[in-house]
Symmetry: C2
Subunit: 501 residues, 2 copies
C-alpha cells in the first residue's frame, strides 16, 4: 500500500480522515469554547474567497449588503410559532449586562435584563421588524438585502465546519409585492448557489425542494442544493426559502398596492455558511490532504527553490523571482495568479509536503539543473502528475493548467456521484443499497437512491431505521409518475434519498 | 440665509445635524435592540470600502485574517486583572442555552451554563489562549493575525456609528519574540491607520501616545490617531496597543528562544471600527448632507437623464448609457469609476437632492440641449460648483476630478484643524479657549490646545471641570521641554488637549 500523508485514509476511517485533513492543512481547530471553532488563516482565506465569489453574484442579481443586530429580543422570536419552535431549543440567551464580584471573590453576572436577548440563530425576525418600518407602499418593494454575519445555534454534537455552535454565513432577506416575484427570487438564489457550487467549488449539486419535514421553521417551501461527499453521504450545501406571507403577517410587513389596498408582503430568505468549507474538503481532498479547486485556492502556485550548495543560491533565487513576477502578471478567474516563493530553511521534502497537504494546485520546484535546461519541475496536486516543463511554456499555459485542474475536479466529483446514484424501484434493493457492508470500506457505502416516494408513516418508519432521509424532490426530474416503494401510494416524481450530514 | 437640505444646520445644533445627515443619506438607524444599530446599504457599502482599503494594507504588512469565537468564558476575562476591570461593567453575559415554556405560557431561559460566557468586547483573552497553544519555539513567531468581527460593549449612552452596543471592527493581534519587534509592530499599525485616515478618508490625524489614564485595560502603551471634527471636538479614530508581556503572562504564551531559554512572548493589538463612518460624516458632511471622499464613495458619478418630453426619451437614454459605459471603463483608485444612471420616475429636483444628501461626488445631468451641444452638466458635491462641460472632456478628466475632490476634502479638513489649533501657555488662555461662548455657534467652540502638561491632581481637576482631556502626546513633537500650565511641573513636550467624543 502506498504511503499517504493523512492517517487514517478515507477507506480506513472517513470521519477521522476528515479531521486529520483539516489539521494537516492547518485550516481550523476546536476552541476552548464549547462547539465553537477557530478558523485559521488557510481555512479563513478559502472562506474569504467563497465570500468574494458569492458577493459578486449577489450584487449582479441586484442585492445590497447591510447589517442587523446580533441580538434578538425573545418576544420577536415568539411571534412566528413554527419559527420559535424550531430554534428555542438551541439558542444562546443573554440575560445580564455586566459582571460584578460575587460572594466568593470571583465574578458573577449582574444587571439582569428586563427581556432576555437571543444571539441570532438566523435573522428573519429582527430583519422583518425593520422591513415593517421601511415598507409603506408598493414603491418601497422589492427590498433585496444580504447580510454577512455570525450566527449561533447551540448544537449538541459539533464537527469542524460542518456543524458548529457559532458559524459564519450570509443570509439574504427579500420582500416583494407579489407571490410570483418572491417565488422567482427563491429560485434565482438557488440557481446562484448551484452555479457557485459547480463553477467555483467544482462540486456538482442537485437542486430540489425539501419535504415538509425538512422545511425551514416558518417557511412555505424550502429548496436546497445537495452534493455527494466521497463517503457517498449527502450534504445540504445551501438553502433558499419561500416564506410566503408567514413572516410578513407575524411582523406586519404591510404595503399599499397600486390600487391603494393594504397587502402583506411576500418574503424569502436564503443562506450558505462556513459549512461549504467542509463540503469542499469532503468533495475533493484525498489521502494526502486537501485538494483545492483553483478558483477558491488562496494560492495557485508555490515555487520551491532547490538550493543544495550555497554558491547556487543567488542564481536560483534570481530565476525563481523572475518566474514568480511573470506568473503574478497572468490573469486567472477574476483576478491574477496567486504565487508564493517558499524559501524557508526547511528540508525540501518536508516543505513540499506542507503545500501538498494544503492543497496548492501547482507546486513548482526549481534547482540548478532545471535552470541549466530552461525548465521548471511542475507537480499537479489533483492528479499527482509531476515532470519537467519548459519555463516559458509553463508561464504561457499556467491559467489553462489551472482551468484543467478546476474542470478535472468537477468531472471527478460528478463521476463519483454518477457511479453511486441508482434508480431503485424495490424496497429490497433499497434496503440492500443502504445496508450492504463492504469490508474494504466500512465507512463508505450506499449513495443516492432515486426512488418514488410519498409521505406516509410507513416510509418515515423505514427511512428512520435505515438512517436515510429524503434529500430533495429534484427540480429537474426526467421521469414519470410512479408508485412509492415504501407505501405503494402514487408519487409524482422520483426523489433523492441518502444518508446525510 | 441659504436654504439647506439638513435641518438643523451644524451651527444651529451639531449633534442633531449629525443624526439628520445619517437619516438623509439613509446610512443607518436605531434598531429595537437597545443601543444596537442597523447599518443600511449606503452606510454599509462605505464600511465595506473601508474594510477593503484597510485589508489590503494589513496584507501588505504581512498579516493574515482568521476568525475566533464570539464567546469568551468568564474565567478567561478574569486572568488579566486590569483587563477584566475595564470590561466587566459593560458586557453581555450568556447564561442559558435554550428557551422553554414558562409558568405563564411565555418562554423562559433554560439550560443554565456551568460557566457564563461573555460576548466578546475585544478578543485578547480568547485569541491569547489559542496563541499559547500555537507558540512553542521562536520559530513559531511572529504571529500576525487580524480578525474582522462584531463586538459588544454595553454602553449606556449610544449614538449611531460613534458609540453603539454592538459594533463592527477589526482587531489585529500579534505575538513576537522580542520587545523591539512588538514595539515596531505597534508603531507600524498606527502608521497604517494614519495613512488610511489621511489618504482614503481624507481626514488629517495626529499620531500620539495616550496617557496612563486612557490606556487600553492591560496595555503597557496605547497609541491613537486623533482627528478634529467640524465642531472642533477630537475623535479617537483608531488605536494600537503595545501589551508588553502582560497578556502573555496571564495566558502563558511562552516560547523557547534560540538559546533554549523559555520566554514570554511580547504581544500587540490594534483596531478600528464602524466609528470611522461617524468620523467620516463629521469630518466632511455639510448642511446639505453627506460629502464623501471619492476613495470611499460607493458611487462616484450619478447620471440623471433629463426627459421632459416623451419623444426625447430614446435619444437621452442612448446618450447617457454610452456615457456611463465609457465612464465605467476608467480606472480610479484600485478599481474603476463607479457609475449609476438614475432614471427613476421622480421629479428631477427630488432625485438630484437624494444624491446630494448621500454625498455622491459628481452628479451629472443630461438633457436634449446638453446633447445638442455635446455637453454634460456636472455638479461637484464638495464645492457645489456646477456647469456645462464638453462630454469627451468630462470622460477624459473624470479620474482627475475625483482626485481633486479627494485632495480638496483633505485640505479643507486640515485647514479647519490648523485654524482651530492653538499653542497655549497660560491657564487663563486655556480656560478661555474652552469656555468662550460664540452666540453664533453655541455648539462649536474650542479646538485643539497644544500645551505643556504633566500628570498631577491639579491638572486632572481643572481638565475634568472643563470637560477637556489630554488626547495624546504627539509622536512628532516639534517643540522643546517646558512647564505644565496646570501644575508648574516640568513637561517633556506639548500635548494635544481637547473636548472629545
Amino acid at each position: 500500500m502506498a504511503k499517504t500523508a493523512i492517517k487514517p485514509t478515507r477507506q480506513e476511517n472517513y470521519p477521522e480522515w476528515y479531521q486529520q485533513v483539516i489539521k494537516a492543512a492547518d485550516m481550523a481547530e476546536s476552541s476552548p469554547v464549547r462547539g465553537c471553532m477557530v478558523i485559521k488563516p488557510w481555512g479563513y482565506t478559502i472562506w474569504e474567497n467563497m465570500q468574494h465569489g458569492l458577493d459578486v453574484m449577489f450584487k449582479e442579481t441586484g442585492h445590497e449588503n447591510a447589517y442587523f443586530p446580533l441580538f434578538i429580543p425573545m418576544s420577536f422570536l415568539e411571534k412566528e410559532a413554527e419559527h420559535v419552535e424550531g430554534f428555542a431549543k438551541e439558542c444562546a440567551v443573554v440575560t445580564h449586562h455586566r459582571l460584578e464580584p460575587g460572594p466568593d471573590g470571583g465574578l458573577v453576572p449582574a444587571g439582569e435584563l428586563e427581556e432576555p436577548l437571543i444571539v441570532r440563530p438566523t435573522s428573519e425576525t429582527i430583519i422583518g421588524a425593520m422591513y415593517a418600518k421601511w415598507v409603506q407602499s408598493y414603491r418601497d418593494l422589492p427590498i433585496l438585502i444580504n447580510q454577512w454575519a455570525n450566527v449561533v445555534r447551540w448544537e449538541l454534537r459539533t464537527r469542524l465546519f460542518l456543524r458548529t455552535t457559532e458559524f459564519l454565513w450570509q443570509e439574504g432577506h427579500t420582500a416583494h409585492a407579489t407571490e410570483a416575484e418572491a417565488r422567482e427570487e427563491t429560485e434565482r438564489m438557488l440557481a446562484v448557489y448551484a452555479d457557485f457550487a459547480e463553477n467555483q467549488m467544482a462540486m456538482p449539486v442537485i437542486c430540489g425542494e425539501k419535504t415538509a419535514e425538512e422545511r425551514f421553521p416558518g417557511a412555505v417551501s424550502t429548496y436546497s442544493i445537495e452534493a455527494m461527499m466521497q463517503d457517498r453521504k449527502a450534504l445540504q450545501a445551501g438553502t433558499s426559502h419561500f416564506l410566503g406571507q408567514n413572516f410578513a403577517r407575524a411582523q406586519e410587513i404591510k404595503f399599499q398596492d397600486q390600487h391603494g389596498v393594504e397587502q402583506f408582503a411576500w418574503t424569502t430568505s436564503w443562506g450558505v455558511s462556513t459549512r461549504l468549507v467542509g463540503a469542499l474538503i469532503m468533495t475533493h481532498a484525498d489521502d494526502d490532504g486537501l485538494v483545492l479547486p483553483p478558483r477558491l485556492a488562496p494560492r495557485h502556485v508555490v515555487i520551491l527553490p532547490v538550493i543544495r550548495k550555497d554558491e547556487d543560491r543567488t542564481a536560483v533565487m534570481e530565476y525563481v523571482e523572475k518566474l514568480a513576477a511573470e506568473l503574478k502578471g497572468v490573469y486567472y478567474g477574476d483576478g491574477k495568479v496567486q504565487v508564493k516563493i517558499d524559501d524557508r530553511d526547511l528540508r525540501g521534502g518536508e516543505k513540499r509536503w506542507q503545500h501538498v497537504k494544503r492543497g496548492v494546485p501547482l507546486i513548482v520546484e526549481v534547482g540548478p539543473r532545471d535552470i541549466a535546461e530552461g525548465n521548471v519541475f511542475v507537480g499537479r496536486r489533483d492528479t499527482g502528475e509531476k515532470g519537467p516543463l519548459a519555463r516559458d511554456e509553463f508561464v504561457a499555459t499556467v491559467a489553462q493548467r489551472l482551468d484543467a485542474i478546476q474542470s478535472n475536479l468537477f468531472q471527478r466529483a460528478l463521476k463519483l456521484r454518477e457511479d453511486n446514484t441508482r434508480r431503485i424501484d424495490s424496497l429490497d434493493e433499497f434496503r440492500q443499497f443502504f445496508t450492504a457492508k463492504n469490508p474494504q470500506k466500512p465507512e463508505i457505502h450506499g449513495g443516492f437512491a432515486l426512488s418514488h416516494w410519498a409521505e406516509s408513516p410507513e416510509a418515515t418508519k423505514i427511512l428512520k431505521k435505515l438512517k436515510v432521509t429524503v434529500r430533495c424532490l429534484p427540480l429537474k426530474a426526467d421521469d414519470e409518475p410512479g408508485v412509492c416503494i415504501f407505501s405503494g401510494q402514487p408519487s409524482r416524481q422520483r426523489v433523492v434519498l441518502a444518508k446525510a450530514y
